[in-house]
């Protein structure tokens, strides 16, 4: 409906729709002015003054002009007319003629006035009607009148806007037509309502749906009055119809939302409450009663009744919160317990808002309650589980962390992190900064692992190991075991993991590997030894036989013929090779022979003398000289003499071997014994070529040898034996020639 538009088709002639308006306008004029005119007329006719009447009429006309009454205009006109007539026609005619004449003039004047008046009324009325229609148009309503006898309906012009039809058809039609447009569901109701109208109860109001030409229904609100004739028969219906489609829809929507709100609050388990502060009156929803465990029948409806249900421990707190809200207008927001009649305790959360009146004081409090028992219980359980978790996480000697894949950040790390990393966990940490402390050798694999893991793509129970370098420069081995916490859809939401310090474990592993290697080595050596032991004996026999045969050959050749020198040289070479083979075998055997030590108090000097005596042939073969420089009265040493003899023998043989390159007169071995504070020191010094460079350090390592055919075990065995008695063995190389090997044995 367009506001304020006036249709040009609107004209006074159409106002016939309201015929009663016209006669009423005429009768109004007639009532007052007719009496006045009659009075003027009589005064004029029967006054003794002729022209002097002007003097009478003029003030009256003037007065009538000034006075605001509309009818007075007529009086003024009449008075003026009579005054003019009095001037033009002096009273010469007989009275009867004059009366008729003046009466005719007056009647003519009266008719002019009356008709002009009527015309003006009609114009005014049309304007009124126009404005009224306009107002109704703005208000979205129209007026109607229905005549029961003719079944015709007249409506104001704007009806067509609501019916959506042509103005002409909208403004008048049959009641029958109108009914056909009413929604079928509402027709019955409408007819029933009309049938119930009686003279004493003649007004009505009804809403119904009305079909529009476009097929939709508009909702209208109609109020009207029935007019009955003197015999009580329904004559007419007058009323006003307003279109309320929008309002209806809004109300419907409101009703719907209210319904939804109620359903929602019910579904959410929300109980609603409403307090009138002045009276302390408390209203609860059904749900609220359920929450409070209170029956609506027994509930007194006051604040005290409410507080009575609240758990004694929470009562004071809730009371104060309510008071504060009422006094200060702040929101009420409390969690409290209520005790049901059966004794069970339930947690409720209350949320309320103060509503202030015009005076600024709080008039009402409205709010909701919800049962949070389950939440509280799960909160308590959660707190407990979290406390437990923290206790575990913060006390285990592993760094426990939680990483959010969605947020790409670390949510938690346990305090052990600091112990492990050597610095407190940085508040913000991404993969790049995490990798800074990783050992360079492990960084690449760690980066790959972390990226894979924190992108949420990794196998369940993922493990990794690596080294980190702490700020103090120490390297720690860590073992990181991670698990995926998955969403129901299977995507990884979080990564939780444990990081453990496995440095000690790694060290142990390394040591174990070393020991295993040593053991394997020893086993190999031992196996070799066993084999050698057998071989040595078996090989010595044929070697000895060869030696014997060669010597025999030589002797026989010398006896029989003049032997060429070359033959003898070759035979000597065979002998030498045999001895070399024998020497190799002997050294192998020496390594192999292991026996339980036989402890006794041993005179080292004696052992040395014995060894030298037994080595006579060796010394002789090497063409060397042995010089003994033995300290007298050397204290006894608790050891196995045989083993010490073995050591001395070994050193002596090494010394002899070392001097093979020397000229015969420079092959000296000096064996010295000396008393130290708590040990006996033995040294075996040769005049050989000495030790070169690394040889001095590697001397005691297994299988290290400077000899062309040595096994490299002699000194290793010596070291083992000497150390077994708490002694020490070392080498000193003397320039320009010679090596001294010294060992000590503690005095018992």
């Amino acid at each position: 409906m367009t506001q304020g538009t006036i249709d040009p088709a609107l004209s006074p002639g159409r106002v016939e729709a309201f015929p009663p308006l016209f006669p009423r306008a005429v009768s109004t004029v007639r009532g007052t002015s007719a009496l006045l005119l009659l009075a003027v007329f009589l005064a004029d006719v029967f006054s003794p003054w002729g022209t002097a009447a002007i003097a009478v009429y003029a003030p009256i006309a003037l007065l009538a002009m000034i006075l605001p009454w509309r009818d007075m205009q007529l009086v003024a006109l009449a008075a003026t007319g009579l005054a003019v007539l009095g001037l033009l026609a002096p009273r010469s005619e007989p009275l009867a003629v004059e009366v008729v004449l003046r009466g005719m003039v007056l009647a003519a004047l009266w008719l002019i006035v009356v008709f002009s008046q009527a015309l003006r009324s009609r114009q005014t009325l049309a304007q009124v009607h126009k404005r009224l229609t306009q107002a109704m148009d703005i208000g979205g309503c129209f007026a109607f009148e229905w005549c029961a006898r003719t079944d015709r309906v007249y409506r104001t012009f704007n009806a067509h806007r609501m019916f959506g039809t042509e103005p002409r058809t909208a403004m008048s039609g049959l009641g029958e037509q109108f009914f056909s447009r009413v929604h079928p569901d509402d027709q019955v109701r409408l007819k029933q309502m009309l049938a119930q109208l009686i003279p004493t109860n003649s007004t009505y109001r009804i809403s119904f749906r009305c079909l529009r030409p476009d097929g939709t229904y508009s909702v209208v609100d109609e109020c009207g009055q029935a007019i009955f004739d003197s015999r009580g028969r329904l004559e007419r219906l007058l009323g006003m119809t307003a279109e309320v489609t929008r309002r209806y829809q809004a109300e419907e929507a409101l009703r719907g939302s209210e319904e939804r709100l109620r359903l929602a609050t019910d579904a959410a388990g929300l109980g609603t409450w409403d307090v009138t502060v002045a009276t302390g009156e408390l209203r609860w929803s059904d749900r609220q009663f359920n929450l409070m465990g209170v029956s609506a029948n027994t509930f007194g409806g006051t604040q005290d009744d409410f507080l009575g249900v609240v758990h004694p421990e929470d009562r004071q707190r809730v009371y104060e919160a309510v008071r504060r809200s009422e006094n200060e207008g702040v929101d009420f927001r409390e969690e409290f317990r209520v005790v049901w009649p059966d004794g069970s305790v339930h947690w409720l959360a209350g949320l309320g808002r103060a509503i202030r009146g015009a005076d600024g004081n709080v008039q009402r409090m409205v709010g909701v309650n919800v049962d949070i028992t389950q939440r509280k219980e799960s909160e308590a359980a959660l707190r407990e589980s979290e406390a437990r978790f923290r206790e575990i996480a913060e006390n285990i000697d592993q760094a426990f962390y939680v990483y959010s894949v969605a947020e790409q950040r670390r949510l938690y790390v346990s305090p052990y992190f600091e112990t492990l990393w050597g610095f407190p966990p940085p508040p913000e940490e991404d993969i790049a900064s995490s990798l800074q402390v990783v050992h360079p050798d492990d960084r690449e694999s760690a980066a790959k692992k972390l990226r894979q893991r924190f992108s949420g793509n990794f196998p369940q129970g993922d493990e990794t190991e690596g080294r980190i370098i702490r700020p103090d420069g120490t390297v720690r081995w860590i073992h990181d075991r991670a698990f995926a916490v998955r969403n129901p859809d299977g995507t990884v939401e979080r990564v939780v993991g444990f990081i453990q310090d496995i440095t000690a474990l790694k060290e142990a592993e390394r040591r174990t590997r070393e020991l295993e290697a040593e053991l394997a080595h020893a086993t190999r050596v031992s196996t070799l030894g066993e084999m050698t032991s057998g071989l040595a004996h078996e090989l010595n026999q044929p070697l000895a036989a060869i030696e014997n045969y060669v010597t025999s050959c030589r002797l026989l050749l010398q006896q029989w013929v003049d032997v060429p020198e070359r033959v003898l040289i070759n035979l000597d070479a065979v002998t030498q090779e045999v001895q070399r083979a024998a020497a190799i075998i002997r050294r192998l055997r020496e390594f192999v022979v292991r026996r339980e030590p036989h402890l006794s108090s041993v005179d080292i000097n004696h052992v040395i003398e014995e060894v030298v005596r037994l080595s006579r042939s060796d010394i002789w073969q090497h063409g060397a000289q042995v010089r003994l420089d033995l300290a007298p009265e050397l204290p006894l040493v608790q050891c196995d003499g045989i083993q010490i003899a073995q050591v001395v023998l070994n050193l002596l043989r090494n010394a002899l071997d070392a001097m093979d390159e020397n000229e015969a007169e420079h092959r000296w071995v000096t064996i010295t014994t000396r008393r130290q504070e708590s040990a006996v020191e033995v040294s075996v010094q040769d005049t050989g070529s000495g030790l070169i460079g690394a040889a001095a350090q590697q001397l005691f390592e297994p299988f290290f040898t400077t000899k062309e055919h040595g096994m490299g075990l002699g000194l290793t065995i010596c070291q083992t034996l000497v150390q077994a008695y708490g002694g020490r063995i070392w080498a000193e190389s003397e320039s320009p020639h010679g090596t001294t090997l010294r060992f000590t044995l503690p005095i018992c």
Partner: protein, 210 residues
């Protein structure tokens, strides 16, 4: 008098054979045995020569044979051969009279040197044994009284002391000395003392004839 023999006792045929060839190359008699027992069964106290004895033998070992021979009074110098140098055994063997302890393979020449040394020693021992046998035989001619007096003389006691200790008269001691010198077939008293001392050094204290 038989030629000295080198007895080779070794279970390894190659070794045995080569040793035999070696020893024969210096024109010495050789007898080979594969075990200590075989040798022990064959040997008689009158055999001359020396032993080349392997330390490790099947059955009776070289060291055991050494002990056995001593017990039987068969004095033959022993050269021990060993596959490997066992210092302890070597020391013990030498203490009990072995003349050398050689580790296989040893120089053939050295072995021959030792064999010859052993044969010389064997000769000395044989001569000494002969002397001792004579002394023993003669000592057995002495009566207990004469033996007692001889003991006193060997101990270097004056006749007076001997007489006093034995409760005899000086003259009786003089008479017994004269009989001793005669029975022992010596020219002088110092010779008598030397014979008896040598005897006592190598033999068990001579028991007078019961």
């Amino acid at each position: 008098m038989t030629e000295p023999t080198v007895f080779i006792i070794d279970d390894d045929p190659g070794m045995q054979q080569s040793l035999a060839v070696l020893v024969q190359s210096i024109a010495l008699n050789v007898e080979t045995y594969a075990s200590a027992q075989a040798f022990l069964d064959a040997v008689t106290p009158d055999r001359r020569g020396c032993l080349i004895l392997d330390l490790r033998l099947p059955g009776m070992s070289g060291r055991e044979l050494q002990t056995q021979l001593q017990q039987r009074g068969i004095h033959l110098p022993i050269i021990f051969l060993s596959g490997h140098g066992d210092i302890e055994t070597a020391v013990a063997a030498i203490k009990e009279g072995a003349i050398d302890f050689l580790e296989k393979p040893c120089s053939g020449q050295r072995l021959l040197d030792q064999v010859q040394a052993a044969l010389r020693l064997a000769d000395e021992w044989r001569q000494r044994d002969q002397r001792l046998n004579i002394v023993r035989e003669r000592l057995q001619r002495l009566s207990q009284g004469e033996f007692d007096v001889l003991q006193g003389i060997v101990d270097g006691k004056p006749y007076k002391t001997i007489a006093k200790e034995l409760g005899l008269s000086y003259k009786t001691v003089e008479a017994r000395r004269a009989r001793i010198v005669k029975k022992m077939e010596v020219d002088s008293l110092p010779e008598l003392i030397r014979l008896v001392l040598e005897y006592q050094l190598y033999e068990q204290p001579a028991e007078p004839k019961a």
